[in-house]
Symmetry: none
Subunit: 225 residues, 2 copies
DNA sequence: TGGGACCGTAAGGAATTCGTCAGGATCCGG
DNA sequence: CCGGATCCTGACGAATTCCTTACGGTCCCA
């Protein structure tokens, strides 16, 4: 399901957006200020971000900067008619589209559809098959050879996805931390150790002798398919 | 077409260079002294400069200085055997490689090829293949011909990467130390000896007779693909 | 022939990095 | 408001990597 993050501090507008988006089968998350917007983006990896420029804490284009530092997620900007200058700044910062308030819900939905379509150049990725399990990136599923499904938490999945997408290649600790936790957690290598261990417990035949998720001491990890 | 500027005052050598380079489809220009060498470089923007150290007017390293003031064009230095000191000075001044006279034309042509390749940085880096192993810079992997993977530590990898990226070309100890350990370790040449030895142990078929990682006494090391 | 400069090799302890466990905080759905 | 799942955090032993020291060899030149 397409995940949409709505960043806005007007309760009435938020409610309207949530209802209408949910009615069209979008998975909606709300953030009421820039700070939590950045956090949510890093955690949830939404497919589209709808961002109101008039936020209480941070300037809108700073939010865009923060997201663009590490993610290419489409950003649709909501702006009032008297915010022409901010609009330009936002587009410069890397916004993809903007809608002027007041706006019709149909127009916004059309923009969201377009953005989501652009975001998923869906070249259907084949599942990655190993001797012990199958990773289906498209379906977000890991299945063991005996048919049972492996239960992964959201963080575990994101980590596995990052490793599997670059399978065969070394993925540095920095890259993993940025992709899974967000750029500000670049140095928290301890997170990695903990979650790599959990992935190994769930996937490796012998977690103490990892075969698929290899560690490259001092550099990062590598998935061997 | 690759343009080569030859700076030399010995008519016989100049003739030999012109013929051989032209036969390999290089566009050759000649300068007989340092002054006109600087002028030609500024006007013609050659892709490679071949510079003889024994010039009539200016000292060789001054010519290098003059060029390096505004251009990063690769400079290959020709030097006689009794010009050890000038060689080092030239490399420090920013020369890229050197060839000691008398030299084989094949050797010089190989150096020119390496210099030209370095001048035109390639976007996608293909793996470097030798008779005994394959270095895949993108994946951060070294694989032996029998399929086994070579385990390298971070420092060993950085060192190998620095050498392989400039394969065929001499890389001075200074450059290696700066790239791998940082500028403040420029003089710790012993680090190099230790880690070069480890690389050879892991890569060379006969570490006591290095074939791929050659040492250039007093200057640095060179990777031969 | 002796000394100096440079290079190669080996080995051990210091420092960093990794794996693991477990308790507590936080979030979310009922 | 509660229970369960998930995530963060701290602690500690194990493993890995790095730096340092020591010694032997070669080459060149006084």
């Amino acid at each position: 399901m397409t995940k949409v993050l709505v960043v806005d501090d007007e309760p009435a507008l938020v409610r309207a957006l949530r209802v209408n988006l949910a009615a069209h089968d979008y998975d909606v998350t709300i953030a009421y200020d820039g700070r939590s917007a950045l956090k949510r983006t890093a955690q949830d990896h939404p497919d589209v971000v709808i961002l109101d420029l008039g936020l209480p804490d941070i300037d809108g284009s700073e939010v865009i900067d923060g997201i663009r530092g590490w993610s290419a997620v489409p950003i649709i900007v909501l702006s009032a008619r008297d915010q022409e200058r901010e609009k330009v700044t936002a587009l410069d910062a890397g916004a993809d589209d903007f809608v002027t308030k007041p706006f019709g819900m149909d127009e916004l939905l059309a923009r969201v559809r377009a953005a989501a379509r652009r975001a998923q150049p869906n070249d259907d990725e084949p599942a990655i098959v190993t001797d012990d399990f199958v990773v289906d990136l498209a379906a977000t599923v890991v299945r063991r050879s005996d048919g049972t499904e492996v239960r992964l938490t959201p963080t575990e999945w994101q980590l596995l996805e990052a490793l599997v997408r670059d399978r065969g290649r070394l993925v540095t600790s920095q890259q993993l931390l940025r992709q899974v936790w967000g750029p500000q957690y670049e140095h928290e290598r301890h997170y990695l150790r903990v979650f790599i261990a959990q992935l190994r417990r769930k996937l490796e035949p012998d977690p103490s002798q990892p075969r698929y998720i290899r560690t490259e001491a001092g550099m990062g990890y590598r998935f061997i398919g």
